[in-house]
């Protein structure tokens, strides 16, 4: 008797500045892992590049980042790019993006499944991230506590560890995360791969090759539009990350209160 599996969609938020093979590996590793739990059937993956108003240093225009992601994912039959987040007028909290996508997924699912079989398990949406993402919860003012709770408690995380980082430790050191550890899935990336978008941009600035770190079509796009120069890396250099500004303005539950 086959156990019924929860249909699962994985959402990856981030700069994707630019998208690399490593980003796409995250999806592959996460899918394999969630399948192997026996409880989930991964039915889709979404790449959601952050909007320009995020204000991160070196961020090139969203239209380019979306275009590159589309090129990279052309050959994928289950992961797609979504530009909703990147098109919002202001930076969107991750949780808001998740709520939007979950609403869409649920509607789509109800439409296709219909009302005749109400014993089917409802689909879930989980945030796919790297281990360094867990550490960002510690940065003061970057996350609202109630958002972290909703993200981890209600939705859930699939966290792929890379290099030397220890995500389990990050969970252990946070009461909030620890309380929800059953909803944080740890995936081990045994292949030590430190390829990062930062390194790719560095190589491009220096005229070095990035072949085999990202798809050829993306490299071609980058050269055609001359993205990633010394100038592009200086963009937003003195700006404050949008989340820090936005959340400072709102009444936030803080440990200092």
């Amino acid at each position: 008797m086959a156990a019924r599996r929860v249909p699962l969609v994985l959402l990856a938020c981030g700069s994707f500045n630019p998208i690399t093979n490593q980003h796409m590996r995250l999806f592959e590793l996460a899918r394999d892992h969630m399948h192997s739990t026996g409880q989930y059937q991964v039915v889709g993956g979404i790449v959601s590049p952050v909007s320009d108003s995020y204000g991160k240093q070196g961020l090139v225009l969203a239209k380019h980042r979306v275009a590159m992601a589309e090129l990279a994912l052309q050959s994928s039959n289950w992961v797609t790019v979504d530009e909703w987040e990147s098109q919002q007028p202001d930076w969107m909290e991750t949780v808001v993006t998740m709520r939007y996508h979950y609403g869409r997924i649920l509607k789509e699912y109800e439409r296709s499944v219909g009302m005749h079989n109400n014993s089917n398990l409802s689909p879930q949406l989980k945030l796919l991230c790297g281990a360094d993402f867990l550490d960002t919860f510690k940065i003061p003012g970057l996350w609202r506590d109630d958002h972290v709770e909703e993200l981890v408690g209600h939705f859930g995380l699939v966290c792929v560890s890379r290099g030397e980082l220890q995500p389990e430790r990050a969970v252990h050191e946070s009461d909030l995360l620890s309380h929800r550890r059953h909803n944080i899935f740890h995936v081990r990336e045994w292949v030590k791969n430190e390829t990062s978008a930062t390194e790719v941009r560095r190589a491009l600035r220096r005229g070095l090759s990035v072949k085999y770190l990202l798809p050829d079509s993306v490299i071609e796009y980058i050269h055609r539009h001359n993205l990633y120069t010394e100038d592009s890396e200086m963009r937003n250099k003195s700006a404050v990350l949008r989340p820090l500004v936005k959340q400072a303005q709102e009444p936030v539950k803080s440990l200092d209160d």
Binding site: R25, E28, L29, V191, K192, N193, T195, S196, L208, S209
Partner: protein, 219 residues
């Protein structure tokens, strides 16, 4: 992962693919051509193998501070024959630090072969953060003698896609997408390569070089 066993298994001569990368550079009025040769099992080839060529080329270009007029792709180089009347043609062995360190495994290499490779030709060695090729060269009189012909390229960003790991993932039905080209993955699936059975091949066979050189002096 850094055991001798891993290095030794790499030298199974089950298949040897020669990759030629031609670098044309101008130095005054003479043309120096460098061709990089990578030997190995390529069982299977991965993005990491191909990265090695890119890193080596960037390094040599950078070191020599030469302009590249014309760079052949692998596709063209395979079809080309290297003409005899090209003086200043240099062939260099491209490898990882594990190959360099395999020079120290008794009976794996003939000393005169090592001397010819590094003395007459040259070596481009891609090193990772967990190996220290400079120290290894320092500890070998033979390598030290030809240290000028050994180019160490630091791989600052570790990209450790080993063929062993790829075969393991394939055996377990796990995805290897984005570790090697899609076309290679397709080929592997089409021909049903890399199963538990295939991994057992040669399990009790002694590597050819070890068979050949056992009994010869290793100093």
């Amino acid at each position: 992962m850094r055991s001798t066993e891993i290095s030794v298994r790499k030298y199974q001569f089950c298949s040897k693919i020669i990759f030629l990368l031609t670098l044309v550079s101008m130095e005054g009025h003479s043309i120096t051509k460098v061709v990089l040769l990578a030997c190995g099992s390529f069982n299977p080839i991965t993005n990491m193998h191909m990265r090695m060529f890119e890193l080596a080329r960037d390094h040599l270009e950078d070191t020599a501070e030469q302009n590249i007029d014309d760079v052949d792709t692998i596709k063209y180089a395979k079809k080309r024959r290297i003409e005899e009347n090209h003086h200043d043609l240099q062939l260099m062995l491209l490898c990882g630090a594990d190959v360099l360190e395999s020079f120290g495994i008794p009976n794996m290499w003939k000393q005169e072969d090592i001397a010819e490779i590094v003395g007459r030709h040259g070596l481009v060695c891609i090193s990772r953060s967990n190996s220290d090729p400079h120290k290894f060269i320092h500890q070998s009189d033979l390598l030290w003698k030809y240290r000028k012909n050994i180019h160490i390229v630091r791989e600052w960003v570790t990209n450790d896609i080993s063929a062993t790991h790829v075969r393991r993932s394939l055996r377990r039905g796990q995805s290897v997408r984005y570790l090697l080209p899609d076309s290679v993955i397709h080929y592997i699936k089409e021909h049903g390569l890399y199963s538990s059975e295939s991994e057992q091949k040669n399990a009790d066979v002694v590597l050819a070089p070890l068979q050949r050189y056992t009994g010869a002096s290793s100093s």
